[in-house]
């Protein structure tokens, strides 16, 4: 556990010093500012648009970090041969994989926290800019803490994307890993459609196949509750807990797969 922590801290340190990361955070903050400007143009709907865009920005920039750093986590170490020195130290290969994952999870956590803080700061400021008569027409207060549930699920989605990217990066090139991760993410958003595929096809084979894919592929759509929180619709805690458990199990399988592949790998 101590070794995993040390590897994770090193990943975090490297990520923080990597200028790309700063750019992404700056971009996210900029996005929130743009959402504010956009809100100025649409009277009455300002707060919902700003909330929607802000949450989308947190998710999108988090995904960019998760995919583009995730696919390079293992590849960069192998390609630049820094892994040779590292694996000659008293660590197991599984500790390397888990440390790398934990490091990126920590980086993402800090990023999500920074973006969330910036998002709430913008909302708090805007709250002061509207008269009471407008504020009462909003479905939820500007700084509604209920949005944290959506952000928590966004963070879980990012952890799952990172695990997918890390899994692919243990055996393929960054380009292929990125393509596979993004492909899986897109398919994962249509996962619910696969479940009800039998209603649109006649072939029972195709229906079974679609049902099989539904159970195997990650259901990324489950993590998106932006609309519910923006419109202050109820999101039961049970839903949050079961989605969290789903993410944890899926991540555990992906990391176990990554460890199994990486443990057998030859570094030529």
């Amino acid at each position: 556990m101590r070794l995993i922590g040390q590897i994770a801290v090193n990943v975090f340190k490297e990520s923080v010093r990597d200028k790309v990361l700063y750019n992404l955070v700056a971009f996210a903050v900029l996005m929130i500012a743009v959402s504010y400007l956009l809100g100025q143009l649409t009277a009455g709907q300002d707060m919902k648009i700003i909330k929607d865009l802000g949450l989308a920005a947190i998710a999108s920039f988090g995904r960019l970090i998760a995919v583009f750093i995730g696919i390079g986590l293992v590849w960069k170490e192998v390609e630049r041969r820094s892994i040779y020195s590292l694996l000659s130290k008293p660590i197991h290969r599984y500790e390397f994989i888990l440390g790398k994952y934990a490091g990126l999870a920590l980086t993402l956590f800090v990023n999500v926290v920074v973006m969330t803080a910036a998002f709430y700061a913008v909302l708090a400021y805007l709250n002061t800019q509207f008269p009471e008569s407008v504020r009462v027409s909003w479905p939820a207060p500007a700084t509604d803490p209920g949005m944290l549930r959506a952000i928590a699920l966004i963070f879980l989605e990012l952890l799952l994307i990172t695990a997918v990217a890390l899994f692919f990066s243990t055996f393929s090139s960054p380009f292929l890993s990125a393509a596979l991760t993004l492909g899986l993410w897109v398919i994962g958003h249509f996962n619910d459609d696969l479940r009800s595929f039998e209603t649109v096809v006649e072939s029972p084979v195709a229906a079974y196949f679609a049902r099989g894919l539904y159970y195997v592929l990650p259901n990324f759509g489950a993590f998106d509750i932006k609309t519910q929180v923006v419109y202050a619709l109820p999101v039961p805690w049970l839903y949050v807990v079961t989605t969290t458990a789903y993410a944890c199990v899926y991540i555990a399988f992906l990391l176990a797969g990554a460890v199994a592949i990486f443990s057998k790998r030859d570094f030529r």
């Binding site: 020195s85 660590i91 030859d266």
Partner: protein
Amino acid sequence: MNAIRTEALTKHYPVGFWRQRPYVALDALTLDVHQGEVFGFLGPNGAGKTTTLKLLMQLTYPTSGRAEILGQPVGDVSVKRRIGYLPENPYFYDYLTAEELLHYFAGLFGYAAADRRRRVAGLLDEMGIGAERRLQLRKFSKGMLQRVGIAQAIINDPEVVFFDEPMSGLDPLGRREIRELILRLRERGCTVFFSSHVLSDAEALCSRVAIVASGRLAATGDLSEILATHARGWELVMAGLDDTVLEAATASGRVERVTPLGGRRYALALPLSVAPDRLVADLVSQGGELVSVNPIHETLEDFYVRQIGAVENDRGLAAV
């Protein structure tokens, strides 16, 4: 107990896309390295040196055979606590400083913070890395990275250290410093296993060497014995010989070269096939006087070239 032992260690890599065939990177390497010695692992590029080191570090897995370090199978994490490794052309993390990298690696051995600080500062001083220790590694030259690489390899006071081309990228002063460091490690009782194709380094440092070529062990043994037992000819120093006698001896092929030494003394180089006692008897009968007779030993380079050539010939014949 040997520091390192390999038994028929073999590594095949698949090559080709559709119809993969095995490429033999290492072929049944059996080797013993004794504790406390500096062992030179020599061979041309592509001979299998780095593959051997990767197998010993478990960066690749053997196709067959086995390897032990300090009596335990390679890959055992407890062994890794007792060894150090410098890869060929080491590369580290761009955004860490040399100091941070060594702290990170020292932490993996579980050293407490105060001990880490002491070790890191001492090693950086020993490797001649001054104020640069606080620069990010992406700003380091190849030679400086090599020094950092050596420092990380010995951060845990290893009992056995593996250096893959340790002199690579170093200037003459740096090479001398690393030679001195290797000798200091030997004095501390550390076994040093280093791969190189620079023979002068091996000649200056090693007690024993192994030569590999085309993935096969071509020769191994005590360096002083190799050089002592492999004579390539004889040198006679004679006095009082006439030019005509010397010319006749050269013309007959019994003498390869005559070097005047002054005072009518000559050094005569004889091929190994000529028995020096018979030639001496002939020359003495023609008025010469024997001053000395000595075998001319092979240099490590001669031995190396001969061994590599033998393996290449074998491969050529096998291919035919």
